[in-house]
Symmetry: C2
Subunit: 313 residues, 2 copies
């Protein structure tokens, strides 16, 4: 049996192998994804983002266990972008899979970038397709939301939970910086700590504007992940959000939009490879670079020239 | 006089206007850049990156003042990516332009992303071209190094200073995460604080490997930016690095590589616009998305189809 055949028989070792092929972009990984895609689309994708130390991993663990208790299969992707100043230590202090069901109903995979975030969003999306095709009912994606790449990752999810803690004095900044746009639910974790009420009130004020524009309640759920407190309330809000977006058609619209983005990304990548190959024969780019370096031209003029030479227009 | 004519006469109000045109990508900004490029290329570009609170702004201020005292003109770009969890407050606690020369020899510009980092690296590079063409001898670019965008920005500089503090226990992580590749000089700021010797020793250990591969010393300069201590030593190392890369040809090689990247970025952007326009007439992408959504196809197969329809291959 090929690894793909084993995968479709539900072999977890084959799943791990397929994920590695996808993550490392091994030869033929696109053919593998071609085969997986038609079997995907059933899993609900939930994104968790928030500052380091907010307790995202504990929350994700709790949610996974609750879903498993409901006979659901859960795949977890923990993305650790090891960004220069925030990363690295994150995976280390994760206490993973403690008390986790060992019957294969919860599967956890870490993705690290080892110094480069290039293509991380695409790779994460592809791994989610694999988990989805394998038959997991839920795919939970956890990432530290500090950059464009992480926002891209989280944007592919059906529902986005932003995890904050009372210490997140920068909560309002976080909202201003793009998370406001993608957050569907706020989890205010470590809600037993001082400042929880203040930040909750502060959040509510900011959220009023967004709440006015939509029928979705945009809830703030107070949690204590370490004590598994209010996990069910958070899960209930997640389910309610899924119901809401399915009713309004937003679920399907968003998924179609993600497919469209994926097509464009593959297509433009292919086009760029072709253009590069074409120009290799007809243009002396070194010479053009030299002209610009010498102050005799500029990249805009040269690009127009190359566009003409590529005979695409 | 047009704003460009005023710009070339050295009018700082026109400079500010031109930068805004470039930053906002107003109509015709590319024509403006076409005009600026041939006058650029003279300025030395120095990048400063490091964790929030490391004292980058103070260091950049000190360096600017020292250069101004040497009769040099200095343009400063402070990039504030307002990333969800680290940004926002950064600009607020900057005490800028205190004691700065008021004769126009130091010009400072902040760039914030207001929630989106899309195109920030390109915009920063373009603003640097404007400062360069305006006649500044040095362009200092300061950014918080937390993501790919910031690494892209800093990579365009001739010399990169990574600023750390004794508290940066994550220094080694930072090195692992890509900064190692781009750092030319380390400034260990707040060097009077406990832990400075430890982190310096730790850094030295990690740097040994890289030092072995190059003739460049890869120095660590201990600074106390707040007391303007060792600014001149840092500046001396910067000058020495510029001399080094000019002698070895790395300066020119790196600049040519940046020009090549810029050409490709403009070209591929143009190509993508053309391909999109072509496909609009010949392909029903909505229908293709619907097929994938229904599990009847996949983005890789569809992309191949679109590539064929675009008649580029």
């Amino acid at each position: 049996m090929t690894v793909l055949e084993k995968f479709f028989c539900g072999d977890q070792a084959a799943l791990a192998r397929i994920i590695s092929i996808i993550e490392n972009r091994d030869d033929g990984y696109q053919d593998v994804l071609s085969r997986l895609y038609p079997c995907s689309g059933q899993a609900i994708k939930i994104g968790f983002t928030g500052p380091p130390g907010a307790g995202k991993s504990s929350l994700v663990n709790n949610i996974s266990k609750s879903l498993a208790a409901q006979e659901k299969k859960v795949g977890v992707i923990a993305v650790d972008p090891t960004s220069p100043f925030t990363g690295g230590a994150l995976l280390g202090d994760r206490i993973r899979l403690v008390d986790m069901p060992t019957d294969g109903s919860v599967y956890m995979r870490s993705m690290a970038t080892r110094g480069s975030t290039g293509g991380l969003a695409a790779a994460t999306g592809n791994v989610a397709v694999a988990l989805d095709a394998f038959g997991f009912n839920y795919v939970l994606i956890e990432t530290v939301g500090v950059g464009q790449v992480e926002l891209d990752i989280i944007d592919t999810c059906d529902t986005v939970v932003v995890v904050l803690v009372p210490e997140s004095g920068d909560a309002i900044q976080a909202l201003k910086a793009g998370l406001m746009e993608i957050a569907d639910i706020f989890a205010l974790n470590k809600a037993d700590r001082p400042g929880a009420e203040y930040i909750s009130a502060e959040l509510n004020t900011v959220l009023e504007i967004k709440r006015d524009k939509s029928d979705w309640e945009l809830p703030i759920v107070s949690t204590e992940a370490i004590n598994n407190k209010n996990t069910d309330r958070l899960l209930e809000k997640i389910q309610r959000h899924i119901d809401y977006i399915k009713q309004t058609g937003n679920f399907e619209r968003h998924r179609r939009e993600q497919i469209r983005k994926k097509i464009e990304s593959i297509l433009f990548n292919q086009v760029n490879i072709l253009v590069r190959a074409k120009l290799k024969d007809v243009a002396n780019i070194d010479e053009m670079v030299a002209r610009i370096f010498a102050g005799q031209s500029d990249p805009y003029t040269v690009s127009r020239e190359l566009l003409r030479l590529s005979s695409i227009s």
